[in-house]
Amino acid sequence: MKRFFGFIKKEFFHIFRDKRTMLILFGMPIIQILLFGYVVTNEIKDAEIAILDLSKDDISQEITNKLSSSGYFQIKKVLHSHTEIEDVLKSGIIKEVVVFEADFAKKIEREGIANIQLIADASDANTANLIVNYTKGIISNYAISLRKDVEMPLQIEPEIRMFYNEELKGAFMFVPGTMALILMLISAMMTSISIAREKELGTMEVLLVSPLRPFQIIIGKVSPYIAMAFVNAVVIIAMGVFVFNMPVLGSISLLMLESLLFIVMALALGIFISTVSNSQQVAMFISLFALLLPTMLLSGFIFPIENMPLVLQWLSSIIPPKYFIIIIKNVMLKGTGISFVWKETLVLLGMTVFFILLSVKKFKVRLE
């Protein structure tokens, strides 16, 4: 036992000696969470648009003012002819061109109707859609105000209530997602690399002939990472709560236990990756490619899983972070207990066992 603790101590020294890695490991979650909370947003604010006013009358001027004072738009350019439209959209600074036809106000007065054309740069489909909708809303409201004589009858007013995230704060999505990403990185990537490293440098052989049992070696290897990953989990949750006012409605101990389970699962995955790779390079390559983009895109972190094609929905069920994200959101935002997340918990447990069994099998093969 004393030997075993000595070994664990050695592993801790190994990791804590590397100051830069330490800095990154503990600094990364903090920076990542702040980035997500403040920087990554879908909101339209001061979108740059251009106006092509072929009429230049009071009404077109007033609509232009309404657009620029709405807070959504910033009028960056005033165009003078249709030929300029293509150029400004291609240059990429302008997201939308609003075109008032000639004799705009006169036509409203005489014929009762005049045209406005919106041309949006839909190379970014999502933004284009939002911008056009906002513009439509502002102009329609103005058009209604022009017809004061007619009262609009029969209005149904929808009232919206957002459950579990009243203000639709982005942080409520990103905190669980980032947590999954970071824990996955620290646990899976670090263990896989550190074991592959021992193999590559030949020091694994030294460890294997020592009186330590193989499972003791593995436990010794992973225990520093468990500690570090757990500290990170606590830091991330604390930042979510104190910086972004994220609630923890459910039980904190359940949250901690689930985080621990996810960490152990990721470690098992890391050990498994290391058993199938013969060098650090391969271990890193697998962890980077197998973990980074799929965790970002298939876990439901950014893009809702229900919207994906069926095949991808199935595929997403083998992505462990998906379950972790569901569990955290349930416990933190909905305040549900284990009775609501037992399925996800079981899946994570099952995955852990699966990876451990697989690694044990592979590990033996190597020893023969």
Partner: protein
């Protein structure tokens, strides 16, 4: 005189030869590694095909629970609007709010449509009536979309009943401003043709940066760098020898990804491909230069990997691949100037989707060129031949 005339071609010849040998060495090493080689070429392609489909903000199958306490003609008409929409799927009808909320809680429904009693009466008497949408906002993005879709269906419904009312009373109603709109460069607002270039950028960068970053540090760790250090190979020759192989591989991946995009996703390629590859070349100088620089300042592979991972994650999220760069706060946009992803993400989409020409992306091009010179000089400077 003579010496000078002869001297230049000879040293040029030597330079080319040295680099040629270095390239040969790197390529042999890459193609000999039978585990890594398939990973380099297969993984990105598989990921491209899969992930492009995953990245969509289009909502389908919104699960709705209807709580209709009014049970009138109007409420039924409104509900049938939702039934008729391809985006909604009416999960169940209920009369108990608790029961409906329970379903939000266990995630079996996305939204509750709550129509209060007296809905029709209020509508006819007061011209105004309220309904409620209770949205499961556990996923913020989805909730925002559900919100927008629901409101637009109600607005359509409003317009219809207004029209009916005026038809009955024989008044002509028309708003004085007619709006028509067009979506240029992507008429149908397809998300894949927007995401594909973005994901391709990430994959190409991952491959390039990963290979270049690990390379020098691996030689350090194994000790073979000592052997190179004692040869007369110049520092810049060494860096070029490390840079070119990965640049070629990354350019190849780029071409491969574009072919897949063309064949499987009908990716439009409006602009000049020469321009795109010219830009890719400059971009890769920066991306690989960063990799080499990190490699030069790191002691072992683990360290360089974390440095790269940290920058990759930050750069990717700030690149504008998922969310528009313009929506970020000003300070973030200033930081973003050192983010090579941001320039390339913008340029590749502009070239492929809009057919923007060289002068449209001149700013990005100049910025990246300066960046390339700076980062490569730094990499050469930081690579020490002494121990």
């Amino acid at each position: 005189m003579n010496n000078e005339n002869l001297g230049i071609p000879i040293s040029n010849f030597k330079l080319m030869n040295t680099i040629k040998y270095l390239l040969q060495k790197e390529f042999i090493q890459i193609f000999r590694n039978k585990t890594l080689l398939p990973l380099i070429f297969v993984l990105p392609v598989v990921q491209l095909i899969i992930l492009v489909n995953a990245a969509t903000f289009e909502m389908k199958n919104i699960d709705m629970i209807v709580l209709d306490k009014d049970l009138s003609q109007s409420s039924r008409n409104l509900i049938s609007k939702f039934e008729g929409s391809p985006f909604y799927h009416i999960n169940s009808f209920t009369f108990s709010l608790e029961e409906a909320e329970e379903k939000l809680l266990d995630n079996s429904a996305d939204v509750i449509l709550n129509i209060p009693a007296n809905f029709e009466r209020d509508l006819l008497r007061n011209n105004k009536s309220k309904i409620q949408f209770l949205i499961n906002a556990i996923n913020g993005t989805a909730a925002g979309l559900i919100n927008a879709y629901s409101i637009s269906i109600v607005q359509d419904f409003n317009k219809e009943i207004i029209q009916e009312w005026y038809d009955l009373n024989q008044i002509k109603i028309e708003l004085p401003i007619k709006l028509n709109y067009r979506y240029w460069f992507n008429e149908n607002l397809e998300y894949t043709i927007y995401m594909l270039p973005g994901i391709l950028v990430i994959l190409v960068t991952l491959i390039g940066m990963f290979l270049s970053a690990l390379n020098i540090v691996r030689e350090k760790e194994i000790g073979t760098i000592e052997q190179i250090n004692v040869t007369p190979i110049k520092k810049y020759q060494f860096i070029i020898g490390k840079l070119l192989p990965f640049l070629i591989i990354a350019l190849f991946e780029m071409a491969f990804g574009l072919v897949i995009g063309r064949l499987l996703f009908d990716q439009p390629m409006v602009g000049s491909l020469w321009l795109l590859f010219g830009f890719t070349f400059v971009y890769l100088l920066v991306a690989l230069g960063l990799g080499l620089f990190f490699s030069a300042i790191s002691a072992n592979q683990q360290q360089v990997m974390f440095t790269v991972y940290f920058f990759l994650l930050t750069f990717i999220l700030m690149s504008g691949i998922f969310t528009p760069v313009e929506s970020m706060p000003d300070w973030a946009q200033i930081i973003n100037r050192i983010n090579p992803f941001m320039y390339f993400m913008k340029a590749i989409r502009m070239i492929l989707l809009k057919g923007s020409g060289f002068f449209d992306i001149l700013d990005e091009f100049v910025s990246l060129s300066i960046y390339a010179v700076v980062i490569l000089s730094l990499a050469i400077w930081r690579y020490r031949k002494t121990v």
